[in-house]
Structure formats: C-alpha cells, structure tokens
Amino acid sequence: MSEGTLYDKVFDAHVVGGLPTGQLQVFIGLHLIHDVTISPAFGMLREAGMRVAFPERTFATADHMVPTHSLLRPFSDQQAETLVSELERNVRQYGITFFAPGSDRHGIVHIIGPELGLTQPGMTIACGDSHTSTHGAFGAIALGVGTTEIRYLLETQTLPLDRLKVRRINVDGELQRGVYAKDVILEIIRMLGVGGGKGFAYEYGGAVVDRMTMEGRMTLCNMSIEGGALVGYVNPDDTTFAYIKGREYAPKGTAFDRAVAFWRSVASDPKAKYDHTVNLDGGKLEPMVTWGTNPGQAVGVTQRLPRLEDLPESERGTAGQAYEHMRLTPGGYLVGTPVNVAFIGSCTNGRISDLREAASILEGRHVAEGVRALVVPGSQSIKYQAEQEGLDRIFTEAGAEWRNDGCSMCLGMNPDRLIGDELCASSSNRNFVGRQGSPLGRTILMSPAMVAAAAAAGRVVDVREYAR
C-alpha cells in the first residue's frame, strides 16, 4: 500500500468518514460544471426541494455544445439552446458562478479552471467529465464522475470513494525536438493499455516531467483516464506556483506565501512508497500516432503498424476490427496516409503553447488542397492571447479556420463534426468509432504540431522533418 504520496496526503485530509458500505466519504473542494451530463442532476435536486450545499465552491461553464462559429442566440441547434438555457437558469437559481459563452473568462472547463487559478495543489476536484484528471497537473486529486454522483456533489459536496493504489511513472531523459507531452502520454497508454490504470492513481515524475511546463503537465494528466486511471497527477513545484501566482482566484499577498508552504507540504515525500513503479526513457520517444480506435493503439511515427501476430492474443480481436474501421494495413506505415480534416484544439491540446507550436509549423505554408483545418482555442483568454501574438493570422493565411473557444470537434456534440468516412488528424484525446460525430469517421490522435504538419502536407508526416 502506498505511503507518503501526494495522493495519500490529499485523500486523507479530505476524508469525512467511513460509510456503512466500507467506502469512504470524501469532501470535494472544487466542483466544476459544464453544459451536458448535468441537467438530470439539477432536476432531481429541484424535485427534492434541496439547495446546493457549497455554491461558492461550484463553478460552471458551457463548452461541449456551444458552436464555435457563432454565438448568436438562440443557437441553431435547438437541443443545445435548451440545455444551455437550462444551465443558465440553474446557476441563477442556485447561486453558482457561471462563465458565460462569449464572456472573457469563458472556455473549456479543464482549461479555465487552471487559467482562473481555481485549480490548486492539495485540492480534491470533481466534474461530470472524464478529463477532469487534467487538474491533477497541479497536484490535486481530480476525477470525473457520472450524473448521479454530480447530484451527490450538488447536495453534499462529497463523494463515496474507494482509495486507489498509486503507480509512479518516471519519465527520465530528455525529449527530442518535435516530441511533446502528448507523445509521452500516448506512449504510456500504449505501454500499459487502456485498462492498465484500473484501480490506480498515476503519479507522473522524472526529469522530463520536472522540466515540463504546466501546459505540458495538463496534457499528460488529461489523458490519464484514457489509460484507465481515474486520477493522474504531478507533484507541485516552483513551476506550478509560478503558474498560479497572480491569477484571479489565486491567494494574494502573504496568503500566497502561506499557500505555497502548504502546497509544498502535500507533494510526495522523497521516501514515499508506491504500489507500483514504471520507468520510461523519454529520450527514446518519437512523435506518436494512433492507428486504431482506442488511444492505446498507437505507434511511433516511423514505426511499422503492428501485425496482428505481433500483438498479444487478447488484443488481436479489437486490433483487427480497428484496422478494418480505419482502413489501414497491419505491418504498413501511417506516414503518407492522406487526411481530410485537421483539428487543433480540445482540453488536451487547445492551450496557447499548443497553438504556438502549430503556428510555427504553418507559418509560410498552406493547408493542402482539399483539407479542412480547424483551429479552436480552449478559452477566450487563449483566443485573445493568440490574436495578440498574431497566431490567428498565421492560421487564416495558411487557409485554416480560426474559431471561437469550445470543445468543438473533439466529441461531435456541436456543429463541428466529421462527415462520412473523413479521416481526421486530431490533437484531441479519443479515436473511438464515431467520436468526432460521424459513425464512419476516422481519427488519428497526435500532437498539435503533428496535426499542423499533416494539414500542410495533406497526409500524415513526421513533424521533425517540418520543424524549422
């Protein structure tokens, strides 16, 4: 059993008590809300005549369904209009702070939490969205929950939880140029499997993670759930504190100094005990691409796609189906595969550094003929920053569309969708069948720089040959 890890310290500090079932009741310091998965929870709350227990610790945005091409109300999608209106009514009635679409603090829930300084080390954070693990980048225990659990949160600000085991994942060495946090997490999921994290919290560390920016750490933690780990985190350090300092909801003045002392104290002890440790040489990584229909079906861009007989017997069935859906050949290469759509954005890779990397590839180049390229900033603040830096002009001059912030083409809940069997080079997190809004659509996950290079080439390429 783990001892002295951040997970142990933060979890223990939030335990309210044992439940008769043997589970633990845990206080959740920050509850984040978005426009889907929430309506039935508020419905039940209203029916029961109850109030929100901690409205001051509950914050809402609308990101999944909002269109990125126009914010005119009512939205052209009647269902989106209904759900967003309902959310607006609920936040008003229950006194919850709402970052409205179009306002300068609006954005994807997992992007604005950190951006506003709401996300802090040592917290427990929950949201009705699996990518809540993103917030673990700050040294918080952050997890996604279903709608019934959202109801628990609204009414009690607590959850019934089982204690997880802790797996330390060391990424040592130094990443090559053109290799990013996205590639690190895709390799971890490939190595450990989409179910490999079952029952574990992942603690990421090692030289590569120590040197990583907060944005990189967020990408890393974001996809923990794709590896089956409900929770993923990085121990807070000076990089973390520097990121938080001065943000709207961050402690100010001497309170900030006291906060830093507390935040340092929740980091895993040097002698912490882990349930399991995995080591990875970051220097050996190359840009990763997925070839299948789950994020674990990935390979280095110069590598041959696995032949079915190279895979463990238990994985051949899904691999065969994945190849059939993707219309790719086992044993072949992904490089050269023509792409129809390029998507840069999402809670995984819609941050300013992602846009900068993509812009550095697209500057002076043009999106290949016949390719639809979409660049969607993760928040209004990122959109503003990118426009200050002139990144929007680089994208539009290259022939890409520069959109408003939102979840966009990550998940097919708004007008940004694949059509038919289009193949999309995507900086998002899931390549599941139908994920991007078309049942026949095909997704190849990769870093934003790789997506930009694919957009320019019109086919999958190795970004290292495109970097300047």
């Binding site: 589970q23 310091g29 929950v145 659990e149 009414e155 994985e315 069935g317 899931r430 069948v433």
Partner: protein, 201 residues
Amino acid sequence: MPIDDLIIVTISGTAIPLGGDDTDTDTITPADAMKEPTFANSAGYLFRDARKANPRHPLNNHAYDGASILIVGRNFGIGSSRETAPQAIQRYGINALVGESFGPIFAGTCKSLGMPAVTSAHDDVALLMQLTERNPGTIYTLDLTTKTLAYDGGAVPIEIPEPTRVALMTGSWNALAMLKANSGRAREVAAGLPYMRGFAE
C-alpha cells in the same frame, strides 16, 4: 421507495452475449444521447451506430429479447463519464452485467444505479457467451451472497468490489442518504482545509 425494494441479492434471467473488448461509452451511447435533457430516452441510443452498421448485432437479435443480464468482454465502458451509457443499459431492461473488467467511471455509475457490474475470468466469460449463443433461453442466477453466476448444470465464480456488494445487498447503493447524514462532519472537514479559509492566518 421502501428499503426492501432497493435490496439486491439475486438477479435471474436470460442474457445477451454481447462480448467484445475495449467497448467505450461513446459506442454504448453516442454523444447525441447526451443532448437529451433527461435519461428518459437513453435506451433508444443503446449501441445505436453499431446496431445500424451490423444487422447481426446481438441487440438486433430477437432471440435475446427480454434478457436481464449483459455479457461483455474486457474493459467494457472505458472513456467518457457519460451516465447515458449505464442508464441506457438499465432502461433497456438489463439488471446486471458480467464481464472481464470495466472502465472505472462506468463501474462507479453502475453501482450508483443499483446495477451490479461483476467480473469473471476470461474463460468463464467465454463459457457464458457460448452457453447463451447456443441456447438464448439459458437462464442465469447471479447471487451476490455466494458470489456466483449459476446456470442449469453449473456455475462460475464472480468478483465484485466488497463495498459495492455490501451497498447492493443492504439497499444503500444510492449513497445520497448516507452522505447527507454526515453533512455536519463534512462541514468540519471543509473548515479545516487551508484553501477553504483562503489561507488566512
């Protein structure tokens, strides 16, 4: 609801041999299901795209109509936290799932809905699949007391996290009442957290 109606000890009925590994919740219910304001219509989205694409999908086979147990493979319910997935399965008429393993958020939500998602060894799951494929009328009884799934002529052992088993057998799988009972203590714990006090001295 009276507590007796919430207690889940045994579940009996026929099964659907769904099988398959790494089934994500996008596949179980596509995003369109989440655009509905309630779960009332969730069942209509259950494996919508897969059923359309494949006329031989087990859910299109009337031989399995009326089943109350869903037999699945490894890593069932991975990915998105969408509750439409377990809601759709439950509203379709399924009362329990048996498979090799489940996605973590999906498993938690199944528990909160009072729908056991139990695991069994690879070979045992394969055996159950075969039994039902050969005879769709095969009746199973899941017994949480003995941790077995029995059929005429045999039984396989099943696993379920102990707190989930206790919650189902005591009718306390909807945790709200238990959580609310400790609301005073929850406020005390909250008050002791430095960030809840704005890191005041």
